[in-house]
Symmetry: D2
Subunit: 319 residues, 4 copies
């Protein structure tokens, strides 16, 4: 193997830059050439590919977003688009690609694998919803962003003795809501993984009110239902007034946390190793607190369940 | 004067606790007794009044929200409610009150003044919309919260080459949007103080795109129009795609900034001085960078205009 | 088991309050009584013990430090002191104690165990130097504090093209220096676990200068040598000028990170469970990313080594 | 006037980049050409001068440090060095220079003025020690950094009931110590502007201990005496134990606060205006909360005194 490339795809996540840096430096350290592909799969099709040096990734470890940028790419969904991408890959002498992104990005990589391009996939999404790894890059930073937001909103909730619904990201996965709710001391946490039970939410608010606590924080994963809708349900079913805060895009940005920088560095380097070892279809991740690579297939076939014992714990601690 | 009281009212603002601490400690330093009134004007009516000591306000200077809590109080809008409040004030031997809050809280104070209760009003609202003072307590902290949010969203805007509308608080006043837009390097800033001109916004986005900058940040004061509406207008009128982020309640909370703690300390102490000097209807504020007190009347009669030269500057710098 | 107690001991660590909250709420949830012991082992001797309710630990999950306070306790080193402690424990009907702290605190617990008091020990120290657990409470927060400090110092290092030595905590353990150095993109990391080699440090600085990078960040664990001494060695041996920054006590404080709040919540609840299961000498921790309890003995007998592969990675990535 | 240049000099301060951006964009907006000079006065001598475009200063408003870098320049202290600089200035057709920095940088500008080069000086130093302006760029950010550090250390101080000396920057000026001490709720503040009185410090600690507060925070400006020395004095004279924390270089870095970005934007644009108006020797600053320019001479001749009423206030509030 003489030359690899790296690209980012899908929603940006804090720590993507740390992962890019790791891939580039590790590759150069190992004597490989390394190219950066801009704008995700679209850049692969368009040949937006640049040879990178050590200095190309200087001073980016602490930056949010991705210097390689990301983009949606409907063209890559077509056979023709993918063939264009493969031609560019060959043209640039690229023998393996590190794909940094989420589930959709991994599916794109899978298409390249089918066309005989070795890929190593690095999980980076604030949602933490990639099968086969305990943690994705960006989850820890987003979690801290949400926690800080909850802390701020609690100031108002306490001062005005009001209840708040805080809607956090997570279309299919409740990880962010669950961890943030537990860490933020929320009175209720609502996740797509657990059936919604209005009575239970209302009971918790009332019980909490009974012991003199007149404010409540409800953390809601967007995949469960929209916050405004929940507010209406609570009003209608139980005459409970709530304010709504939809955290939105602030959850994606910001300087990555220490943990995200460390795992991004580990994953990026491991991806280069996987390619060098001749793996043709690798996913990188953490299992039992150790960095591993495993077959990309597993991402799509195994469906992992969220550890709902954390939810029980959160409910126990917010009695 | 032997005894005063302090209360917070209206929306909470970071630095209210620093102001409470200042009032209490300054009063005790000057040999006065001082009482804390809980839950704003409602607490005044209900007699939720406690004698405070030096230690009552220990370890609160850095906390967001208000330890005295705040509440809406329709009862105080009635003659009867106000009479109850006056009875409690007399009952507790209170000879003057420091009111910490925004415009509505000051109007409440004005009613007390009419009933012969000396009041000194300390401006605390993140909106910075009190006439007669350059800065209100909480504005600086909220500004930094908004700036941090813009910085985070810019990570995604840059990575995905997308445009964002960021809606910030400010029903009648564009101060927060204006300062945050300037400090956040926004491409456009929309305020209630300036007529909305869709052509101008679109032109700025296009000009910026022409020189290769494919993302834009538009900061919008909520008082201008809802963010979703603006997004629709931009789509319909100019086929410009934007994402929307409504910052919401995170803007009210958080540990106060250095500046807010300093002015809160200054204002609180000055309020006690004003009462001791026999002022019966004082508003505290900053003019020409100096802490002053002035007649509460001025808050309601003078209407100050936002300094729109900052808006010109912001537009100049985001060409 | 009807009643347990909880105390914090040793240097404070962010997340201790989240752990206290978890112990108290879990205990009450399980139908136990729970008492808070103030001032660590000294408070046990002095009987500074209070019955806690759900509300006793309200609004503390986000606070740094420990509401139970901590203190050195030479008296507990004596047989007599320990007997006093045991008398207080019996007097208050306490049948098991959760000890939150570091290595020294665990040794204290071991003495209580010998006197037939069941103990469950929760690891909380920013140094991450407790055998048998992957993570201690406080480590993640301290790591983020150090990373932020490195980011700030890098601004000056880059602007002035200067080299900096940043001394971080860690008398015997290099975990904090290692993770922070990797996450902060440091050019060199010096740890007590690896022999100091001045030539290697100087070579790295020179190599980095050769490729045009005129600033370097060296992260140094305090246990290795004092920063000023290192600066002198570098000057004398290699004529390399460096500035020194000793981060000091800021590393201990601050609102706990999301991760620290979550593991503190998990550990605290697990400690209560261990006591309820009749364990007489438990240490709580994380192994293979799972919360476990194990025999306290292991903390003192097994000596774990720092994973130096992270150091190799850091060196690879900062070439 | 057709072309101007901008340089940064002296210690870096957060907000310098926002000021550079403002100078460049304002100049281009006004139809001028604008060049960036790298490495301060040394770059002027060496001709490290680059034509800047709008995009040259994109995405820097939020960055700490200075993209133009800074450097000490002994050569500029010589007549010969300054002549070289003037030759480069003429060579590049530069008709006026904006100098961003502190007192020493302003003195350098004064030398250029004597050689008939129009200069406009923008005050940027975390020390806030430039005569003629209420605020320098960087002061507000540094203040918030110090406040956060004090908040963190207070966690440990409270938990362990210990007293801390926190040494902050400020060789000749106590502004940072004074504002941070007031905003951080310090028990004592020691400044070069006020004679040191060990008895008074000790009395404050003891008085505070008498009313049950067993920890104290002493904020010390480095210009007063080194923190270690103060610790020894307190131990020797009064048997008071203290811990020491020297905040050091973290005070210089970090993303600029909202306020620093706003005034940097204002000052930078005003500097360009001053040059365009034909001013040959301007200093920019804020007076009575308004942005002004005044003669550079005033910086060196008027000696302003720190407003010690803030110190009285801090002492009143920490009784």
């Amino acid at each position: 193997m003489r030359k690899i490339a790296v690209l980012t795809s899908g929603g940006d996540a804090p720590g993507m830059n740390a992962a890019i840096r790791s891939v580039v430096r590790k590759a150069i350290f190992e004597g490989l050439e390394v190219a950066g592909v801009f704008n995700g799969y679209q850049g692969l099709i368009d040949g937006k590919i640049e040879q990178f040096q050590l200095g190309s990734v200087g001073d980016i470890i602490q930056r949010g977003g991705t210097v390689l940028r990301s983009a949606r790419c409907p063209e890559f969904m077509t056979e023709e688009g993918r063939q264009k991408a493969v031609r560019q890959i060959k043209l640039h002498g690229i023998e393996g690609i590190v794909i940094i992104g989420g589930d959709g990005s991994f599916r794109g990589a899978n298409e390249l694998v089918k066309l005989n391009i070795p890929c190593a996939c690095v999980p980076a999404t604030i949602d933490n919803d990639i099968n086969g790894t305990e943690f994705t890059i960006g989850f820890d930073t987003a979690l801290n962003t949400v926690i800080e937001a909850i802390d701020k909103i609690r100031d108002t909730a306490t001062s005005h003795e009001r209840s708040f619904i805080i809607e956090v990201m997570g279309r299919d996965a409740g990880d962010l809501a669950l961890w943030a709710g537990l860490g933020g001391g929320a009175e209720s946490i609502l996740l797509p993984e657990k059936e919604f039970d209005v009575t239970s939410v209302v009971n918790r608010i009332k019980k909490s009110a009974d012991r003199g606590k007149k404010h409540s924080i409800i953390v809601l994963a967007e995949g469960m239902m929209p916050a405004n809708e929940l507010a209406e349900v609570l009003k209608k079913e139980a005459n409970v007034d709530t304010r709504v805060s939809v955290l939105g895009h602030i959850q994606r940005g910001g300087s990555p946390s220490a943990r995200d920088r460390v795992i991004a560095s580990q994953y990026g380097a491991r991806a280069v190793e996987a390619l060098m070892e001749g793996k043709r279809s690798a996913a990188i991740g953490m299992r039992n607190h150790k960095v591993v690579d495993y077959n990309l297939e597993e991402v799509f076939t195994k469906r992992e369940k969220l550890d709902l014992s954390l939810l029980d714990l959160a409910e126990t601690l917010s009695i």
